[in-house]
Amino acid sequence: MKKLADDVIEKLIFICGITAIVFVVLIFVFLMKEGVSFFGEYSFHDFLLGKFWYPTSDPPRFGILPLILGSLIITLGASLIAVPLGTMAALYISEVAPKGAKDVLKAGVELLAAIPSVVVGFIGMVTLVPIIKNVFGIPTGLTALSGCIMLAFMAMPTIVSISEDAINAVPWQYKEGALALGATKWQIMYRIILPAAAPGIIASVMLGIGRVIGETMAVMMVTGNAAVIPHGFLESVRTMTATIAAEMGETVRGSIHYKALFAIGAVLFIITFFINFVADTYLHKNK
């Protein structure tokens, strides 16, 4: 009788253990189901490389190149800001900051991670967007640049905390050895600690990028959402995520537009799957 109860709970534990696999597969299946049916009606080539996203024109055009480039330019810009700043902050927090300041700074980073993306978007709209409009003298501040800056901050906690873990994981013997040879702390930091922590830092950057590509609300609120191929950071852009979020509400279930949005979802899923896979590999290299 007792044995039976143990058996039942252990079966349950096993089932829960594999739920993560089940859900990854289910997500893939549900995105693919609509995606595949979309490609029955629309050419894959025109979807991926088409320059025009006119989902409601007649005939509709579902070229996601402008959306991919939109996501790309935001990701690129955000990384250019977040990667150097994030790594440097991680270095400072883990190697330079005095003990008391360290905890405060870490709490600050955690706090940043806690701010909901819709709040970040709101703050971007009411503060950053007008500033950009005035500084550059352009008709609207809803630009790729605004998106890059807001998303850089959203990627920062990921980059800082994972880099910091990687830096902390560098064996102290490395540092002691170099100190004994008369190197200064700064020399040790960039000659020894940074290279040793590199795999973890790369992983943190990948995960940060994954976060930026997948970010939806903030980016939708500050980038202006013009589905055209971007030519610079001071133009409105539209990302893949924002397209899904903005248009799904207006589509008819089962229509080609509806399926096209799922196809975009599938593309996003595959991209982030790949990024996370690579990041995870680097993380394990660090250990």
């Binding site: 829960c16 440097m88 909901p116 993306s117 930091m189 997948g214």
Partner: protein, 282 residues
């Protein structure tokens, strides 16, 4: 050739400047929201229905909607997540299946929130016919929470000394009872911390509930889990982007309520963590 001491000084100052650049905006954001939004906060704002096309009145249905969604989703995700963590930490062998599970968790954590929304729409709203409802939204959010709960619970279980398990097993106590009576109780603070953090995270999520649960405006409170609800983050989104002539302080007020909700949960998690870390006996 610059003196090495001087160059170190310059480098450290630069690092400090950068760190402040990263941290200070958080404070600035919080200060702005508090300063602009505090005037909107009063009992009527918290506890009454919106009126005049949401341009006046309160945000009670959105606050309640967020609470419903969060409570239901955590009630679903917590048991599954903790059992999954128990499987990984206490039972799983080092084999292909375990590696695939771990990889799945990593990838689940990286799936964009809007893709969760699509998935929830496809599976819960349409395929399982739950409609746009609290239930569909909570299930979608639950799946999103899973990787966080599993990962933090697993860490908490892992930090319980192996020797506790050996003592219990050596007394002829079964594996499950060992987990139940000596491992879980000591992993509980860690599990709680992780769970609260995951709740804080999903309380602010908008994209996953956009097509699964959230309603633009519902003039009444939900009667069952099959009703649509207003939700705080979505409410903030619509009043700040879709409604012309929205009084600014109401937007700020809504942002402030959402922010306080999320930050207080984070603080609670931090307090629990520090308290139990100090009390740890081994």
């Amino acid at each position: 050739m610059m003196n090495t001491k001087t160059s170190q000084k310059i480098a450290f100052s630069a690092l400090l400047a950068v760190t402040l650049m990263v941290i200070l905006p958080v404070l600035i954001i919080i200060i702005i929201i508090i300063r602009e939004g505090i005037s909107a906060i009063n009992w009527q704002f918290i506890a009454s229905m919106p009126s005049n096309g949401m341009r006046s009145g309160g945000i009670m249905p959105a606050i309640l909607g967020t609470i419903y969604l969060v409570v239901l989703s955590v009630a679903i995700a917590l048991p599954v997540g903790v059992l999954a963590a128990i499987y990984l930490n206490e039972y799983a062998k080092d084999n292909l299946l375990t590696r695939v599970i771990k990889l799945s968790i990593v990838n689940l954590a990286g799936v964009p929130s809007v893709v969760y929304g699509l998935f929830g729409l496809g599976l819960f709203v349409i395929f399982m016919k739950f409609g746009v409802s609290i239930l569909s939204g909570a299930l979608t959010l639950a799946i999103m929470e899973l990787p966080v709960i599993i990962t933090t619970s697993k860490e908490a279980l892992n930090s319980v000394p192996q020797s506790f398990r050996e003592v219990s097993l050596s007394l002829g106590v079964s594996r499950w009872k060992t987990v139940r009576h000596v491992v879980l109780p000591h992993a509980l603070p860690g599990i709680m911390t992780g769970t609260i953090l995951s709740i804080a995270r999903i309380a602010g999520e908008t994209a996953p509930i956009l097509f699964t649960a959230a309603a633009f405006y519902v003039p009444r409170l939900p009667n069952s889990v099959f009703d649509q609800v207003m939700v705080l983050p979505y409410h903030l989104f619509i009043i700040s982007t879709q409604i012309p002539n929205m009084p600014k302080n109401l937007s700020y007020g809504t942002a402030l309520v959402l922010l306080m909700l999320v930050i207080s949960m984070n603080l609670a998690a931090i307090v629990i963590r520090t308290y139990f870390r100090k009390r740890k006996k081994w």
